[in-house]
């Protein structure tokens, strides 16, 4: 059997079998060992920029030591899991490094998630301590201790003698990130310190991380594992620039931030590129070439070609990154060049196999499922042994090793790169978020008025992708969309709540008795008395309310145009002001002009809040 995998820089042995560094005995340096080295080599280098605050490596080391000491004083040790619930900031960077410094793994706990979901995550991950801002007002389950970073004096008093670095093994856990689970409960993927070390080294060897220290924008939520490839770069001596929510969602301000701090590297999802294109295609004043790290969802052909053309013109360079959370952020990488999108080659250290249903190797050019192995492989799902065994299977080619079954369909192209062809299961990506429809369906059927439910993603050219829930009501019941939406919002994060709800008399079934997804009707938009389409979902409904208010109209349709209804710049300002107040979304008047239809504006708001 030939083992297909490897990066372009990897070795090829004589037998035609491309071998990776997967089982290489060489131990990669732990991220914190590299951090310690950076502190020693360049204590005065800028480590993190957060607004007007600038912290050098010596200071970051000092602050991290204090927090780590406090954690150790509380009994935190290798193998433990510490919750982190803080906004993106220099303080968050201190918290994450400190958890690692104490030898433990961090668990991102986004306060925007519903209470029940947070409680479930805390319970599953066995979190007893949460680093948070007590002012944020999140209610944590009983027995959870919260620690504030701001309590500087308390930190200092325990710092003596505990400031050192705790030795960890590559197999010690690094973080637990929760993703959607098909059985109705989010599942926590536990990765390892060795996996993070392998990620950093892999990206360096692949050339995605530059040899020299760079200035890196940190714009991803820590609930997203893409954040790891941003913030953890501080360990190798890069400077991290915090991108606040305002800058993240405002192209002009983001651009200003990038230029002010001479940022070199920026992560984006392809959806986000649509929004930032104009701003990012403007050449930099200082002549530096911005490098974009595209990830989270497949790069559409048009975007690929656009980025490739920009690279040819020398305006920017872009790298496509692919990888499931279960394999520590990234598994394959490709420079965005040429005509057609692909996910490139495995990172050094990663073994990628294209297998058939019987786990046999498929010839190049054949469509199969992608299996990944190497030091980046996660431990599995915390507290979910059966599920872990299902997805992390024994590698038939290597005794004692495991491989992760990605559920991604791929084909190896003649040049050895991999083309992404979609999912083998029903997992979907919505605005970069990985969603299991099963989890939404499970929650939906928990409503007493629902007998059965199916959730799919519907592609709409204008409004973008949206989730559609099909349901068969219980006998005699006729639940309305608002009630269902409310029920789901109480249990699921906002991006998992469908926008459209379609009642059915019965689910269409295939001959095998499974739900026939292809036979589900197109979601028909409810039509208003004036012939316009009724707004759907939280964002559209709220925006429609605001438009109706400022335009002095009784109702507004999803297909209405703000300016055709008499909107103008001052009213657009009022829209911006009211949406800021009610949805917490920061927009500029320009956004209202660029998205004149209600549905387009709602979709845009979705990209800002997603």
């Amino acid at each position: 059997m030939s083992t297909l995998h490897d990066s372009g820089t990897g070795s090829t042995d004589n037998g035609g079998t491309r071998t990776a560094h997967a089982n290489s005995p060489t131990r990669l340096p732990d991220p914190l060992a590299r951090f310690r080295q950076t502190v020693a080599d360049a204590p005065g280098r800028l480590a993190v920029v957060d607004g007007t605050a600038r912290v050098d490596f010596a200071e970051l080391d000092r602050r991290t030591a204090l927090v780590a000491a406090r954690l150790r004083a509380r009994g935190v040790a290798p193998g433990h899991r510490v919750g982190v619930s803080l906004p993106r900031s220099a303080g968050l960077l201190v918290a994450l490094l400190a958890v690692w410094r104490a030898g433990a793994a961090y668990v991102p706990l986004d306060p925007a998630h519903p209470q029940d979901r947070l409680a479930s995550m805390v319970k599953q991950a066995g979190v007893r301590i949460v680093l948070t801002d007590p002012e944020a007002g999140t209610a944590w389950p009983a027995g959870v201790e919260t620690l504030s970073l701001n309590d500087a004096d308390a930190w200092r008093s325990t710092a003596e003698g505990l400031a050192g670095f705790i030795g960890v093994a590559p197999a010690d856990p690094a973080y637990v990130i929760f993703t959607s689970g098909s059985t109705g409960t989010p599942k926590g993927v536990q990765t390892t310190r060795g996996g993070v070390a392998s990620l950093i080294t892999g990206l360096e060897l692949a050339g995605a991380y530059d040899t020299n220290p760079r200035v890196v924008a940190w714009n991803a939520s820590i609930s997203f594992d893409a954040s790891v490839q941003q913030w953890a770069r501080v360990c190798r001596g890069d400077t991290i620039v915090i991108v606040g929510e305002t800058e993240r969602t405002d192209p002009a301000r983001l651009r200003e931030l990038l230029d002010t701090h001479a940022v070199d590297d920026l992560d984006l999802t392809p959806s986000h590129w649509e929004f930032l294109r104009d701003s990012l295609l403007t050449p930099t004043a200082d002549g530096r070439i911005l490098r974009l790290f595209m990830g989270g969802e497949p790069v559409p052909p048009a975007t690929w070609q656009e980025l490739a053309a920009a690279r040819r013109r020398g305006e920017l360079e872009a790298v496509n990154l692919y990888g499931p959370t279960e394999c520590t952020v990234d598994a394959t990488t490709a420079w965005i060049e040429g005509d057609a999108p692909h996910i490139g080659r495995p990172l050094p250290g990663v073994v990628a196999r294209v297998l058939g249903e019987d786990l046999t190797e498929l010839p190049d050019g054949t469509e199969g499922e992608l299996y990944l192995s190497g030091p980046g492989l996660a431990h599995g799902y915390v507290g979910r042994a059966a599920l872990t065994a299902q997805r992390f299977v024994a590698d038939p080619s290597a005794r004692g090793e495991r491989m992760y079954r990605t559920g991604d369909k791929v084909r190896r192209l003649p040049d050895g790169t991999l083309a992404y062809l979609g999912r083998t299961d029903r997992q979907i990506k919505i605005r970069g978020y990985r969603v299991e429809p099963g989890e939404i369906e499970h929650t939906l059927t928990g409503h007493p008025d629902i007998r059965s439910a199916t959730v799919t993603v519907h592609h709409d050219a204008e409004a973008g992708d949206r989730l559609v829930a099909y349901y068969v009501p219980a006998d005699g019941a006729s639940p309305g969309p608002d009630a269902l939406r409310e029920h789901l919002a109480a249990a699921l994060p906002p991006y998992m709540v469908p926008t459209a709800y379609v009642p059915l008399d019965a689910m269409p079934l295939t001959v095998n008795g499974k739900t026939d997804l292809a036979a589900l009707p197109e979601p028909l938009d409810a039509v208003l008395p004036d012939g316009h389409i009724a707004p759907e979902g939280e964002a559209e409904t709220l925006i429609a309310e605001v438009w109706a208010e400022v335009l002095g109209r009784e109702r507004v349709g999803a297909d209405d145009d703000f300016f055709a209804l008499g909107g103008h710049s001052l009213l657009a300002l009022r829209v911006v002001a009211r949406l800021k107040k009610r949805m917490g979304v920061t927009m500029r008047v320009k956004d209202v002009y660029q998205h004149p239809s209600l549905r387009a504006l709602a979709h845009h708001v979705g990209t800002l809040t997603g």
Binding site: G552, L570, L573, V576, A577, K580, R588, V589, K590
Partner: protein, 349 residues
């Protein structure tokens, strides 16, 4: 009622009677004319009577003229306001109906427009404004006027003294989507032409790197009418103060442009800010001097732009009010208490 010996039509009184009712502008019910020609002949036969009454009352309201179209209005305008002025340094969206006739404003119905003297911020401004109602709105929409001699009398002495001593400052920030663009305001796409205009008209200007334009100018806010010698409150201080915006709009604009980047901002030119409390005092003075009529189709309002400020009430329904401006007056002929200047001292925040 008297009859003029020289009247063309012996059956028609040549001198109108002016009714002065509480809260109303000086108003005359126009004798019934069959044709616009007859009406125009009557108006032109009034001679200095109209000028004298206008100096006395500041604004004159004609009810019952056979004016139904833009063309009709242009003919009456040619009689009453023979010397036209173009609309410069535009500050409000207007539609041009041709022949120097404009919509009074295209701002939306629900928005009230505060009291102001047209172009008080330019070095030359129209001496006369003529409004006519071609379509009366279902509700509201009057063009209120206030005698600015009265406004000046009603203002606290402290405010009057500050204005007399220092004048007022206007800063404008032209950007893509808000209010009037610089291209529209200056009727050119050529930056050099804008710079030339500003240099010629005592306006300082600076371009932003994002294609925006910021201008500033210092103007006297109290002037004398060149014909009557009356002293008047003549400025846009209250009109464009950010305190005149409701809180939501002021905060949204500040979010969008920053506190120094508002589309319009005013201050006393003594470098001290114009406060919300001071705005209330100025508005109270305007309010006490304000009179108005509900528009009826065919109504005409002749305004002496120096003696009288005007505004617009919010309205509902269709409304078509047209306006023409004329008889330009130079600021230099109005005995300004401070010299106009391009540079303004920056108001303390």
């Amino acid at each position: 009622m008297t009859t003029s010996p020289g009247a063309a039509n012996p059956g028609v009184p040549s001198t109108p009677t002016w009714h002065l009712a509480e809260g109303k502008p000086a108003t005359t019910d126009v004798p019934p004319f069959d044709t616009l020609d007859e009406a125009c002949a009557w108006l032109s036969g009034l001679g200095t009577e109209l000028r004298d009454r206008l100096h006395e009352h500041g604004a004159l309201y004609f009810r019952g003229l056979p004016v139904r179209s833009v063309e009709d209005f242009a003919r009456v305008r040619d009689v009453l306001v023979p010397r036209r002025t173009p609309y410069r340094e535009k500050a409000t969206p207007r539609s041009s109906f041709g022949d120097d006739v404009y919509s009074s404003t295209d701002l939306p119905p629900s928005q009230a427009i505060r009291m102001h003297n047209e172009n008080s911020y330019t070095l030359t401004f129209p001496g006369l404004l003529l409004f006519a109602c071609l379509t009366a709105p279902a509700e509201g929409g009057a063009t209120p006027v206030a005698d600015c001699r009265e406004v000046l009398r009603r203002l606290p002495a402290g405010l009057v003294e500050r204005m007399r001593a220092h004048g007022w400052a206007l800063t404008r920030h032209y950007s893509e989507h808000i209010s009037v663009s610089w291209q529209n305001a200056f009727a050119t796409t050529d930056r050099a032409e804008v710079e030339q205009y500003c240099a010629d008209h005592l306006v300082s200007c600076a371009w932003g790197d994002d294609g925006t334009l910021r201008t500033a100018q210092l103007r006297p806010g109290i002037v004398r009418h060149p014909g009557t010698g009356d002293e008047v409150w003549f400025n846009h201080l209250a009109f464009w103060s950010s305190w005149s915006l409701d809180d939501e709009l002021r905060e949204a604009l500040t979010d969008e442009f920053g506190p120094d980047g508002l589309p319009f901002e005013t201050a006393f030119a003594d470098g001290l800010p114009f406060t919300r409390e001071e705005l209330d005092l100025v508005n109270a003075a305007y309010e006490a001097a304000t009179v108005r009529h509900t528009w009826q189709t065919g109504d005409l309002l002749l305004v002496d732009n120096i003696l009288t400020s005007h505004g617009r009430d919010p309205f509902r329904g269709d409304r078509k009010i047209v306006v023409a401006m004329g008889s330009p007056v130079d600021l230099a002929d109005c005995s300004p208490t401070v010299a106009p200047a391009a540079q303004v001292r920056r108001a303390a925040a």
